[in-house]
C-alpha cells in the first residue's frame, strides 16, 4: 500500500470546517490544505459546516461569530480566523493566505487538538487486535482524501449496505486484513464510523454474516449473476489492481 497509508501511519487525522468565508477564500483554503497534506504533522480532512460531523477546527471570516461546540473527538472545537485587516496573532491568519503560514498554524493547532483529546482521555488510538471483531457502521461516504486507492473505494462501498467488523470486511472483500484494519481505523478517527458494541445481538449478526451466505465461492463470488457480469466486463476483484 502506498500513498495515504504510509503518510498517515504515524499521523492523527483531524477535520476542519469553513464558515462565513467568501467562496473564493474557501476554495483557496481547501486547495492549500490539500497541497500541504503531504507535509503537515496531521492529516486534515474537510467537513461541511452544516454536516452532522462536528469538525475539530472551525475556520471563519474575521468578524463572524460562529456557533462552536465539542468536536466529534469530544474535545473543544478550535477556531481559526482569516482576515485582511488584523495584525498577526494567535489563531489568526492574514489574507491573502500564505502556504508557509498556514502550514505552521495547522501544525500548531493540530498539536493543541491532539493535546486536548489526550487530556479529555479520548485518544485517537489505532485499532487493537482485540477490536477486530467490533462492529461498526459507516455513517457517510468518506472524503476523497481517505479514498486514495481503488481498493479503499471498494472497501468503503462494502460498508455502505451493512455494518461490518474488520474481520467480516476482510472476508467480504478478500483484501488483506491489515489493509482493512488500517482503513477502518482511519474512518473511526475521522468520526465516520459508529461503534455498534452496544447494539442488540441481532444487529451484530447482520454485521458479521457468515461469508458463505453472502459470497458463494471466493470473495466477491465466482458464480451467479454478479460474478458473470464482472467476468464479462473484465472487472477484477480485490488484489486485481
Amino acid at each position: 500500500m502506498t500513498g495515504l497509508n504510509t503518510l498517515t501511519e504515524n499521523r492523527a487525522t483531524f477535520s476542519f470546517s469553513l464558515h462565513s468565508l467568501p467562496a473564493r477564500e474557501e476554495l483557496i483554503f481547501k486547495s492549500v490544505v490539500r497541497l500541504l497534506s503531504h507535509k503537515t504533522h496531521q492529516l486534515w480532512l474537510y467537513y461541511p459546516y452544516y454536516g452532522t460531523v462536528r469538525a475539530d477546527l472551525l475556520v471563519v471570516a474575521e468578524g463572524s461569530i460562529p456557533r462552536t461546540s465539542a468536536s466529534h473527538h469530544g474535545a473543544l472545537q478550535h477556531v481559526l480566523t482569516l482576515g485582511a485587516s488584523g495584525r498577526s496573532r494567535d489563531f489568526y491568519l492574514r489574507l491573502p493566505l500564505r502556504a508557509d503560514e498556514l502550514e505552521a498554524e495547522l501544525n500548531r493547532l493540530g498539536g493543541l487538538i491532539q493535546a486536548s483529546i489526550t487530556t479529555s482521555n479520548q485518544p485517537a488510538a489505532p485499532a487493537q487486535p482485540q477490536e477486530l471483531d467490533v462492529a461498526f457502521r459507516l455513517l457517510r461516504w468518506p472524503p476523497a482524501a481517505l479514498l486514495v486507492t481503488r481498493e479503499r473505494m471498494r472497501l468503503a462501498t462494502l460498508m455502505t449496505g451493512r455494518a461490518v467488523t474488520v474481520i467480516s470486511l476482510q472476508k467480504l472483500s478478500g483484501a488483506n486484513l491489515q489493509t482493512c484494519s488500517e482503513f477502518v481505523d482511519e474512518l473511526r478517527r475521522a468520526g465516520l464510523m459508529r461503534d455498534l458494541t452496544s447494539q442488540p445481538a441481532r444487529e451484530l449478526e447482520v454485521a458479521t454474516p457468515p461469508v458463505s451466505n453472502t459470497v458463494p465461492a471466493q470473495a466477491g463470488g465466482q458464480s451467479g449473476l454478479l460474478a458473470r457480469i464482472r467476468q464479462r466486463l473484465g472487472i477484477q476483484l480485490f488484489g486485481g489492481t
Partner: protein, 182 residues
C-alpha cells in the same frame, strides 16, 4: 435466458449515452432528437432512452438503459426501475444547481435506491469543482442515502467500469444471497 438491467440516469448532458456506449457490445441505440430547449447547450438531446446490452455467459443479457434526464419523463423512470439491479446517477457539475439535480433523481428513484444499489458520479469537476464531492456526500447523508460518490469522466471506459464495479459491490452488500440473482 434471463434478462437483467442497470439504469443510468442524470442531468441532461451528463453523459448517459456516452457511458452506455463505453461498455455496450452493440452500438447504443439512442432516441436523440434535435434540441429545441434553448436552456440546454447541446444540439441533440435524449427524449426517450438510450439502450445498450452485454451478453453474459450462458446467454443472459445485461441491458443498460439511459433514462431521459428531464423530470417530465419521470413516469419512464418508474417503468424502467422495475426489476433493475441498480442505478448510476450522473451529475453534470456545470449545471446551475447540481445538488438540486441530485435531489430530483433521489426522489424519482427512491424505491430503486432503497432496495438495490446506487452510485453517484459527478462529472466536469475539473472545470466546475463546486459543489465538491464532500458537499454531495453531506447532501446524501442529509437525505439518508449512503452510497459511493466519486468524480468520473464517462468518456473514459475504465471510469465507467469502476462505476459499475462499485454498483455491483454495493448490491452484493444488500442481498442476503446471490442465489436469487443466479
Amino acid at each position: 435466458m434471463s434478462e437483467h438491467k442497470i439504469l443510468f440516469s442524470g442531468s441532461t448532458g451528463a453523459g448517459k449515452t456516452t457511458a452506455i456506449g463505453m461498455v455496450s457490445e452493440v452500438p447504443p441505440l439512442s432516441t436523440d432528437v434535435r434540441n429545441t430547449d434553448s436552456g440546454l447547450a447541446k444540439s441533440m438531446t435524449t427524449v426517450g432512452m438510450d439502450y445498450g446490452e452485454v451478453t453474459l455467459e450462458g446467454g443472459d443479457k445485461l441491458r443498460l438503459y439511459g433514462t431521459p434526464g428531464q423530470k417530465r419523463f419521470e413516469f419512464m423512470w418508474k417503468i424502467l426501475s422495475k426489476g433493475a439491479l441498480g442505478l448510476i446517477i450522473l451529475i453534470d457539475n456545470r449545471q446551475p444547481d447540481p445538488l438540486a439535480d441530485l435531489d430530483m433523481y433521489l426522489d424519482g428513484f427512491a424505491l430503486l435506491i432503497a432496495e438495490t444499489a446506487c452510485v453517484v458520479a459527478v462529472g466536469r469537476t475539473e472545470t466546475h469543482p463546486i459543489p465538491g464531492l464532500e458537499q454531495f456526500s453531506s447532501h446524501l447523508e442529509s437525505r439518508g442515502v449512503l452510497c459511493p460518490v466519486l468524480a468520473a469522466d464517462v468518456r473514459d471506459a475504465d471510469q465507467v467500469l469502476q462505476l459499475l464495479e462499485l454498483l455491483l459491490l454495493q448490491l452484493e452488500t444488500k442481498i442476503p444471497s446471490e442465489s436469487q440473482w443466479s
